[in-house]
Symmetry: C2
Subunit: 162 residues, 2 copies
């Protein structure tokens, strides 16, 4: 592990870099066509409305990866959790422990804030990601499936007399 590694919270000036990292992760996931985020939206929701937080891993002054997360809530535990939406390390800096360092940093944030859980989702074909997460002690919740309404389905559910 690079001893020059540090973490810093993103500020509004970082919006362009955050968007580049989001797009790079989407490309890795073969989901680039799903990205409609732009800098104005990220600025509004991350820095005005503060819906999520971003931490960069910085090695020798360069941002080599990031984690974007927000607070979830567990009714079973009666407390908040940390939900990791995006974790990304740029390709030429992979295999050096930065991803793990970011995960450990988020776990510390969760513990310090009194959160009971730290969760995220992984694509089922991403074997390297799954092995990495298992190596960190994570448990897959294989008996739950995520359901989603968005776009027209969301508006129909909201406003149509279905």
């Amino acid at each position: 592990m690079d001893t020059n590694l540090r973490f810093r919270s993103a500020a509004e000036d970082d919006t362009g870099l955050i968007l580049r990292f989001i797009k790079a992760l989407a490309e890795f996931e073969h989901l680039s066509d799903k990205v409609s985020a732009d800098e104005a939206l990220l600025r509004e929701w991350l820095f005005d409305k503060k819906i999520a937080e971003v931490i960069f891993a910085v090695a020798d002054g360069k941002e080599v990866g990031f984690a974007l997360f927000f607070h979830s809530f567990s009714t079973f535990l009666g407390k908040a959790g940390i939900y990791l939406e995006d974790l990304y390390v740029i390709p030429e800096f992979r295999g050096l422990g930065y991803g793990k360092a970011l995960m450990k940093k988020l776990a510390r944030i969760a513990a310090e804030r009194g959160c009971g859980r730290f969760e995220w989702q992984c694509l089922d074909w991403n074997r390297a990601g799954i092995d990495f997460y298992l190596s960190l002690g994570a448990e897959p919740l294989t008996d739950w499936t995520l359901y989603r309404v968005s776009g027209k389905s969301l508006l129909d559910l909201a406003y149509e007399d279905t």
Copy 2:
């Protein structure tokens, strides 16, 4: 649908009722042993720290169900979503449309707040739940799995030199 149905946001005084609904849902899910929430924790995280919101469905003056939700964030959309953690209707009021009314209410909240998604998880054995969600236009995200660290695993990841 009961024309006397209305919705109201929970206040701190409702903490006892929220806990009863959480426990009743956990019992339905055969997961009662996972519930460590108590009124003090719910008060702290829901009403002091405001990590999540609760809406009751009220029919003829009686709370017949509730939804507990919080804001998620989608990096692909660049905006918040609504994440539904708990949806519950008390047994003697099921089949009357209250669950659907709560889902439609949440979809309207999502749309009004400019959120791009409305999401939740369902247990894979809960066929009635799955059919209900599909009938609302929801899409199952079958290629993602949730991973979690909590309890000792969370503290180990946070503080152990792994």
